[in-house]
């Protein structure tokens, strides 16, 4: 018990003291990088909840990520500045969107589910870029909202993101070990049997889908705070693919899969970008080698079990 | 009579768990041989090893004078070993007719090979349903199709794995009648089933498996006279 507790407290402690140390040593750049990693860790973990634990391979998860970001950009442009309005608005919007999309998509299975989630994400993408007053294909500036209690400096955003990530991961950890989480995993394991012993499968899947969409929206919201910009790229299908890469790379259905995958992929990209303009070649080769030789992802290499 | 199939000291495993131990058996040209034993004793694994689907870890499999244990399944099939598999495994997206003609060949160089017409004569029901897809057939029709499909390759050795499993009693009789017919035509057959009395009447040679080992081999006559054998290895 104490040993496993240390396993969480040590990394958390390191993250807590990192910004002042980075500031003192002139490495502020890395504070930003870690903020970005934490945001993607949240997004990837939300995808892992439905993909890994629920067996729902959504290829349109970027939709919620992007809508979260665009809500910030559009609301601040329209003169709404209070975070206490913007945050709930973004989360409710993403939850509603996930509910609508999920309630249609969850009638299909397998590859068809993958493709119909992609279709909805593409529709949202094209709708968003069609609004020229909101930047069209160029994207839209997103000002940091007003929290009232504190100024959202880069360091404050770092700590805010850390707090949100820790809270979200804790909630997800509770969820996957709860009654609901157990049923969700049972449905992934054997859907027809879960139905035959009396579970309303569709309802469980839909609730999980909405939770995941809302969490992805939360990540997108933070992303807009981080870059102060909402880009159509956040909504593009490549972004959905990127999130999926993180989950598969980190470990599907492993609790730390989303976090590890996001950290690994972003760090590798960062390093390779420093070396060569053909950095994607390196990323591709690494991904390929991992699929061929480490089929259970990074979390699998450590031999941990998620559930 | 010449030996068509000889299996010698066969050992087969799935991963780290060994299923077959030093299994040996011979089937002569024109004979009907059986594999008997309770569920999970290694009968289907023996068949899969002969077919090359689960390659043997060690041992010899000699078919028509040539070693085949290291060959891929399609080459073993091309030499004339064809199976009517457990669970029928009809191709659901091919029509009845396509299931039959897709693999047609004369692998035993018979002067009077099985053709579409002859298979339809044997199972008129299949002709009625020839344009239906495989997945639109009832269980019994699927079983007939699986047998017809195997016959269309004109195999030198026909293997039937639980061909009567899950069939209604009347259909089961139909299958036994068909096997008797094939035997009379000189077809070499290896059959796995659990109706021992039927098999004694049909087959020449029997092998009983118990936990992946051969525990008894002999002809129908001897098996008939030793009901204690059945009790011990095949029933309660």
């Amino acid at each position: 018990m104490t040993r496993s507790l240390w396993r969480y407290l040590v990394p958390l402690g390191l993250l807590l003291v990192f910004p002042p140390i980075a500031y003192a040593t002139g490495l502020e750049f890395y504070t930003g990088l870690i903020t970005k990693i934490m945001i993607f860790a949240l997004a990837a973990s939300s995808l892992n909840l439905i993909l890994g634990y629920g067996g729902m391979v959504s290829f349109g998860h970027a939709a919620y990520f992007g809508v979260g970001a665009y809500t910030v950009a559009i609301l601040t442009r329209e003169g709404v500045t209070s975070a206490w309005v913007i945050w709930p608005a973004a989360l409710v919007l993403c939850a509603l969107l996930a509910f609508l999309i999920g309630s249609i998509c969850l009638r299909t299975r397998g590859v068809y589910f993958i493709m119909i989630t992609l279709a909805f994400a593409q529709m949202i993408y094209f709708v968003v870029i069609s609004f020229r007053q909101y930047g069209g294909e160029d994207g839209l500036r997103a000002r940091r909202p007003d929290f009232g209690l504190f100024e959202l400096s880069d360091t404050a955003l770092y700590y805010l993101t850390l707090a949100v990530l820790v809270a979200a991961l804790y909630a997800v950890a509770r969820l996957v070990n709860s009654r609901f989480g157990r049923v969700l995993q049972a449905i992934r394991e054997n859907e027809s049997r879960a139905a035959a012993i009396g579970y309303p499968v569709y309802r469980f899947q839909l609730v999980a889908f909405v939770i995941a969409g809302t969490l992805a929206g939360l990540a997108g919201l933070l992303m807009a705070h981080y870059t102060q910009y909402a880009s159509p790229n956040l909504l593009a299908w490549q972004q959905s693919g990127h999130l999926m890469m993180m989950v598969i790379l980190g470990g599907v259905g492993q609790f730390w899969g989303g976090v590890l995958g996001a950290a690994a992929l972003l760090v590798v990209e960062e390093i390779l970008q420093g070396f060569t303009i053909y950095w994607q070649l390196g990323v591709g080769l690494i991904l390929l080698l991992i699929v061929l030789f480490a089929p259970r992802g990074i979390a699998g290499l450590f031999g941990r079990r998620g559930s | 009579m010449s030996i068509l199939l000889e299996v010698r000291d066969l050992q087969t495993a799935y991963g780290s768990s060994q299923v077959l131990f030093n299994l040996s058996l011979q089937i002569h040209q024109g004979q009907v041989a059986t594999l008997l034993g309770r569920n999970g004793m290694g009968k289907t694994t023996t068949v899969r090893s002969i077919l090359g689907l689960t390659p043997a870890r060690s041992g010899l499999i000699v078919f028509a004078g040539q070693r085949i244990e290291a060959l891929p399944p399609e080459q073993i099939a091309a030499r004339g070993v064809t199976v009517v598999p457990e669970g029928r495994q009809i191709f659901p997206n091919l029509t009845v007719r396509e299931n039959l003609v897709a693999f047609a060949a004369n692998r035993n160089q018979s002067a009077e090979p099985w053709t579409l017409q002859r298979v339809y004569q044997l199972f008129p029901r299949l002709q009625e349903r020839q344009h239906n897809l495989g997945n639109q057939l009832s269980g019994g029709e699927q079983q007939m199709l699986a047998i017809g499909r195997a016959l269309m390759t004109n195999p030198r050795l026909l293997i039937l794995d639980e061909a009567t499993e899950g069939l209604a009693p009347l259909l089961r009789e139909e299958i036994w009648r068909c096997l008797r017919l094939l035997k009379d035509s000189g077809q070499t057959i290896l059959v796995i089933d659990k109706y021992v009395e039927r098999l004694i009447a049909l087959a020449d040679q029997h092998t009983i498996l118990e936990r992946g080992r051969v525990v008894w081999q002999g002809n129908s006559h001897t098996l008939k006279d030793q009901p204690e054998l059945w009790k011990r290895y095949l029933s309660v």
Binding site: V57, F126, Y278, L287 | E98
Partner: protein, 306 residues
Amino acid sequence: MPPTLFLEQILNGVQFGLMLFLLAAGLTLVFGIMDMINLAHGSLYMIGAYLTATFVGLTGVFWLGVLLAVVGTALIGMLLELTILRQLYKRDHLSQVLATFALILIINEVVRIIWGPQPLLLSAPEGLSGPIEILPGLNYSAFRLTIIVVGLIVAVALLLLVNYTRAGMWLRAGASNREMAQAMGVPIKPLFTLLFGVGAALCAIAGAFLGPILAVQVGMGESILILAFVVIVIGGIGSIKGALVGALLVGIVDTAGRAFLPMLLSQVASPEVASNLGPALASILIYLLMAVVLFLKPQGLFPART
């Protein structure tokens, strides 16, 4: 709206649809038969277009360039199958998505290293660059008409191959039960390698003929890959007939939508709204089509397996 314009747009839709079919045919066979999601299929299309541009440049003869590119792409496709893709058949869909996504990144960068970041120039052969009058008052691009003819010939050949030849039956048998097909004597490994070669060749044909119309550039494979996936999902995975119907549907709906929606919209809404919303709605149309088809028929129009 003049009827000739309408007819011309429909022809454009058919032309685009047939090229989509060439892409979707390989994709749906690989998907349906090997149960393999190959995102790198679009990369073969890109390779086909680049090779065509290169060979046409070298030889100066369009058709010879296309022929060489088709052969070259088929060889590259088979090489990919033999070295990497073959390892993935037994893996789950997620691993296949990850590995073939990695291949996209690799191939894109390799193409960029070889040919540079600028788009390549590939133009229609001279004899076909002008319009011809196909109906009184209707002039249509000779090159686009050629595409339609080539597309139809290849589509018919493919349908015959899959439905009426023994190799076609073997492919379909392998699609539903690979092990049983092997046990019946189907040489499955060479068959799959060959299938990849054919799929790559079809991609190259599409790349060669769409190249002069769209642009030959890095990334051209991805946008069209999504369309090809939409096509095979609408048609039903594994079904060649479905791929053809789906491709024509998507081609016509997409082309006609882009041409006519802004026009239609401007009659009911203000010009500003129409110019804003028109292209967006047109882009959405095929996805809407797919969502509706899947909602009504969750397995697509012509499900290959049930």
